[in-house]
Symmetry: C2
Subunit: 208 residues, 2 copies
DNA sequence: GTACGCTTGAAACGATCGTTTGAATAGGAT
DNA sequence: ATCCTATTCAAACGATCGTTTCAAGCGTAC
């Protein structure tokens, strides 16, 4: 076998997406990869390290792309809400499309891991979103001065919920798929609802 | 033990929410419930039946409530978009609050199972949402004639994504919790963004 | 008391889990 | 050819999984 390590990662991506982390055994992975059981612990050390390696390669670049786009925007001047949201959403759509081309089931797995909110995932997504939330929160605040920081954070989390749902690729009966191959069109469609959703006047809650 | 069956359900709810279905063993469940291992298979037949029993008691009433509210609305006349969305969201918020009072971790577990999109879950949520999507889709279509049925279904799924995210109770660092105890206030907050999000013109080009 | 359904108990079932071991193999550098 | 490092392999490790078995306990009707 010339490239056992890569074959294992590919097989694990598919099986994790299909049956979850706990629902996938190393024997399934290595059988699909055409490798030996011991190869996982040899190349990765443990099953958990294999998971982290898969997740990191997906999650980290998304937020890196977000920050690059936002930096560019703020360097050019004061961005409006549509530009900020585009910088937030475009990395998701591009990554979603790329992941699908590489492995059709991978985005769903990432969405599952995100929504599991377990102790394994919390440091991975927590530290990532801390910077993202602060940077985009203040960018939105300057574009929409009528909203409080708390309300902006709340609405941003709603958008995160939509994005995770996009990644989950849940296609309910009678509904078409949420995103397609045309990233520009998907972005337009998302901005068409997220911009009004973010711009809407606040009915803020006092008792929280 | 006077009520072993109930104790098992309660323990399973907590542990499933914490560690997932595959991540929870029957021995953990029965130990927490103060029951014997064999009690699970005696009362439920299998671990999978125990899961289905827990999910059914949560998911089915939500959509039943939705349909009752929508029936009431349509019986009174032609509902506007805000009323329809209220009928869609209110059962979620009420159920979310109730579930939290009963078991703080239960909503997160439901959200996890929803987003897993596995073969076990598909019949449970699929058949449920088929009626819901059709009924609410047509109700929204009469309230918003400028939107195509396909666009309505797509936006409705975005709202489902937000709701699942609410249930997941993911609290990112630096952000407050998404919903509280004041259901009326939470509903107002959700309607403040979902009504503009649903009403927005289709594929709008620019907001300046 | 005796007999009978319902429920619980301890123990073991076969299967599978993630991990480890140590020998066998390959392929280049010297 | 010889050595060395990297990788693969079959096999087994102890642990834990969901499930089953069957005896013991329980309250109620006879």
């Amino acid at each position: 076998m010339v490239n056992t390590r890569e074959q294992i990662v590919d097989a694990a991506e598919v099986l994790f997406a299909e049956n979850g982390y706990n629902g996938t055994s190393l024997r399934q992975i290595t059988e699909r990869a055409g490798a030996n059981i011991a190869a996982v612990n040899y190349h990765f050390g443990s099953k958990e390290n294999l998971l982290i390696e898969i997740l990191d390669r997906v999650v980290v670049p998304i937020n890196a792309r977000r920050l690059v786009l936002l930096d560019d925007l703020e360097h050019q001047g004061k961005p409006d809400i549509r530009q900020v949201l585009e910088a937030f959403l475009l990395p998701d759509l591009r990554t979603l499309k790329e992941l699908r081309q590489r492995n059709q089931a991978l985005p769903r797995f990432v969405a599952r891991m995100y929504s599991e909110n377990t102790e394994l995932m919390r440091p991975i997504m927590g530290q990532q979103f801390e910077t993202i939330g602060r940077r985009f929160g203040s960018a939105i605040a300057t574009a929409l001065p009528h909203l409080s920081a708390e309300e902006i954070g709340w609405r941003l989390q709603c958008i995160v919920g939509i994005v995770i749902y996009l990644f989950a690729s849940i296609t309910l009966p009678g509904a078409s798929s949420m995103v397609g191959d045309n990233t520009e069109a998907d972005l337009e469609r998302l901005l068409a609802i997220t911009v009004p959703m973010m711009t809407a006047p606040s009915r803020e809650v006092a008792t929280r």
